[in-house]
């Protein structure tokens, strides 16, 4: 053991406060310390995850007060898996941007890495906390880091994208606060497990109102349909690696918060259908919008929203197979989308507009990056033998078990649409001649960036050829999410610390 779950939050915060001090003496430290912290977080969450797989869910109390009274951190097969994915992706994004940001000044670089580190820490906090108000605080930490990262470049549109994101984020945070007020006024507690245990005492009317406010409150981070207006702009205007961090880390935290709320807090059969409806609308709107985009990053952003819609549909089935499929989709998306964003960011490095037409024929100039981009595109559209195929297949089998033929048909149609718009890019990339007048000047990718891309590509191939390497973990996580009683018992009664 190298620590307990609270280290996942406390160490990045300590480092964030330390960096301005050390940065005054040793300038390079502002790049190195965040990397060390993210590497440490990855190792810590991976080792904790392996530990809890053997010894069962670990509940850590803060300030020595037992679960309903104090704040608790829950490290279970589900939250551990997500925390490990997030910290790992945070490390990859850091690795990619380590030299990528060498062209910006010291002050700007310092702030960029502080925001990136706290973005990861806040997302991990959303996942492992067991208290709704604490979750709200972490959502705000993620929110402010995300606004600042979106407005990082001093171009015209970045401030506007960030402002739009801020207005939506702030309104939704208000909704979340109202939901918390209703729940606290009725049940007198903020602990998730205790709310889940006492939810029957709440009047049905208040339960529905609180649930609607929760959905609005979390929907902005989870990118569900009417609340995702910020996403395409923010992904386009933010620095390249940040798009990868948003899609790989922040959105996963949002989806987790929403699913935990639906499955554990408001454990009634009705809302499952709500999730399917929300997911389907998000999926259809986003994928049809992606088809019309002229800019590479906007297309990737809409594709990301669509994938999240599919995840919600899979969760909405409410069965073991559905949850398994949804988690598998989340895992694959967390690996593939950053690959697409990072390699796409190399391809369009020397342009500010990032039109798809500007990368015509780039495969002749940057063959390796182009092949990696194509690999990601093939994987995310669900073509065998890459990892995306297995997750889409599991969605289809889960839907078939439930006889949801409409969903199967829609998922297949959506897959065709995805293949169309990704092949449009691949076609331009590989089968068009490089044209000086249209295309951008190629940029020589940095060494560390290429390592990050190769790690991600390797993972895609690994999961593609040996899906059994991850399905066991996903299976445990799905069990963990569905077993509400076990969650309540673990948090409320067996809350003593196991490790001393």
């Amino acid at each position: 053991m190298v620590g307990t779950p609270v280290f996942l939050i406390a160490i990045p915060l300590l480092a964030a406060f330390l960096i301005p001090l050390i940065g005054m003496i040793w300038k390079e430290s502002v790049r190195i310390i965040p990397g060390l912290v993210l590497a440490y977080m990855t190792v810590l969450s991976a080792s904790l995850y392996l530990f809890i797989l053997e010894n069962g869910t670990y509940v850590e109390t803060i300030a020595g007060w037992q679960a309903p009274w104090g704040i608790d951190l829950v490290f279970s097969p589900l939250t551990g898996l997500l925390a490990t994915i997030m910290t790992f992706m945070g490390f990859i994004v850091w690795l990619y941007s380590y030299r990528f940001k060498s062209n910006v000044e010291f002050e700007a670089a310092k702030k960029y890495f502080i925001f990136l580190m706290l973005l990861v820490a806040g997302s991990v906090g959303i996942v492992i906390t067991g208290d709704i108000f604490n979750q709200f605080v972490f959502i705000e930490i993620v929110g402010i880091s995300a606004y600042a990262l979106t407005a990082f470049y001093t171009g015209r549109n970045s401030a506007e994208a960030a402002f739009k994101y801020l207005i939506m984020g702030s309104l939704s945070a208000s909704a979340l606060l109202i939901a918390i007020i209703i729940v606290y006024a009725q049940l007198g507690t903020l602990n998730m497990a205790e709310i889940a245990a006492n939810i029957d005492q709440m009047n049905v009317h208040y339960r529905i109102i609180a649930m609607i406010f929760f959905i609005i409150g979390i929907g902005v981070e989870a990118e569900i349909f009417p609340l995702n207006g910020w996403a395409p702009d923010a992904y386009t205007e933010a620095p390249g690696p940040v798009g990868g961090a948003f899609s790989g880390i922040v959105v996963k935290a949002g989806i987790y918060a929403m699913v935990r709320m639906m499955f554990t807090l408001f454990d009634i059969s009705g809302p499952m259908k709500i999730l399917i409806v929300i997911g389907l609308v998000t999926l259809i709107v986003a994928e049809t919008s992606a088809l019309r985009q002229e800019k590479l990053k906007r297309m990737l952003a809409y594709s990301s929203i669509g994938q999240m819609g599919l995840v919600l549909v899979a969760f909405g089935m409410g069965t073991k197979a559905g949850v398994f499929a949804a988690l598998f989709l989340m895992l694959n998306h967390a690996i593939i989308k950053p690959l697409l964003f990072l390699s796409g960011s190399f391809l369009t490095f020397n342009t500010t507009e990032k039109y798809i037409s500007q990368i015509t024929g780039m495969a002749k100039k940057m063959p390796v990056v182009s092949v990696l981009f194509a690999l990601g595109a093939l994987a995310i559209s669900g073509l065998p033998p890459f990892s995306g195929f297995w997750s889409k297949l599991s969605v289809l089998t889960a839907a078939a078990d439930e006889n949801l033929m409409l969903i199967i048909a829609l998922v297949l149609i959506i897959s065709v649409i995805e293949i169309v718009y990704y092949f449009r890019v691949i076609n331009r990339l590989f089968f068009f001649e490089y044209d000086e007048s249209v295309s951008v000047k190629p940029h020589k990718p940095g060494f560390n960036g290429m390592i990050a891309l190769f790690i991600l590509a390797g993972l895609i191939l690994l999961i593609g050829f040996y899906p059994a390497s991850v399905t066991g973990y996903l299976d445990l996580a799905a069990d963990d999410l569905l077993n509400t009683h076990q969650y309540i018992d673990k948090v409320l009664q067996l809350g003593q610390s196991i490790i001393q």
Partner: protein
């Protein structure tokens, strides 16, 4: 047309809010046996802290406060990042109307008193209403007064960021000391003393004083950054 839609939407929203909060059932159905009684009881018996709100903010829900302090830190950093310019002209500030002699002398006179009041509020945060956030804000208003009264009043940005960082680091370090000496992060590991004494409540006043320094430094920094911004 747009206004009509907005008003319709607001009417629907207001109706649902009203039937939620204004109906008598909202009070009747409430479960009063929540965490509240436990907090009130333990604050006196275990923590020996007179102000229950402080005990909750710093100890029972201290993790929230750590997050909250981080939000302020992030906001200050974000302000610097968003308004960052290559050549930053510090000290050149556009003042439309220079302050009169009366304002200047008055500000000089009450500035020490404001600082003293702020320090009093955060040192006594565990005994009386108030605490680190309130005291820090009061101190920041003192600096705001000086900044608007004197055009050439300047504060070193480096000193502010050193205070801010040190206070944050010590907060986390106290959290880890709780983990080492008490068994869990942010645990109250010091002796708690006697209720209503200045030196009571163990680690609670220490952490709240750190929060006070941090908030004062951060708010002053925020004001300073915005005041030196030329549109």
């Amino acid at each position: 047309m747009k206004k009509a839609i907005v008003i319709f939407f607001l009417a629907v929203f207001g109706y649902f809010m009203a039937i939620t909060f204004l109906s008598p059932e909202f009070e009747a159905d409430r479960n009063r046996n929540g965490v509240k009684d436990f907090y009130l009881e333990k604050t006196v018996s275990d923590l020996k802290t007179a102000n229950t709100v402080t005990a909750i903010v710093v100890n029972f829900r201290g993790f929230d406060t750590l997050g909250e302090v981080t939000v302020l830190f992030l906001a200050a950093t974000a302000l610097g990042s968003i308004l960052f310019k290559k050549r930053h002209h510090i000290g050149e500030r556009t003042v439309l109307y220079p302050a009169s002699t009366i304002v200047g002398s008055g500000a000089k006179l009450i500035f020490p008193a404001i600082i003293l009041l702020g320090a009093y509020v955060f040192i006594h945060g565990h005994l009386t209403p108030g605490g680190g956030f309130q005291g820090g804000t009061i101190i920041a208003t003192g600096f705001l007064l000086m900044l608007i009264s004197y055009r050439n009043f300047s504060i070193s940005h480096n000193i502010l960021s050193v205070i801010e960082s040190l206070a944050g680091i010590l907060f986390v370090v106290f959290g880890f000391m709780g983990l080492i000496y008490g068994g869990s992060f942010l645990e109250n590991f010091m002796g708690t003393g006697i209720l209503n004494d200045l030196f009571s409540g163990g680690v609670i006043p220490v952490i709240y004083i750190l929060v006070g320094f941090k908030v004062a430094a951060e708010l002053t920094g925020l004001i300073y950054t915005i005041l030196h911004e030329k549109g």
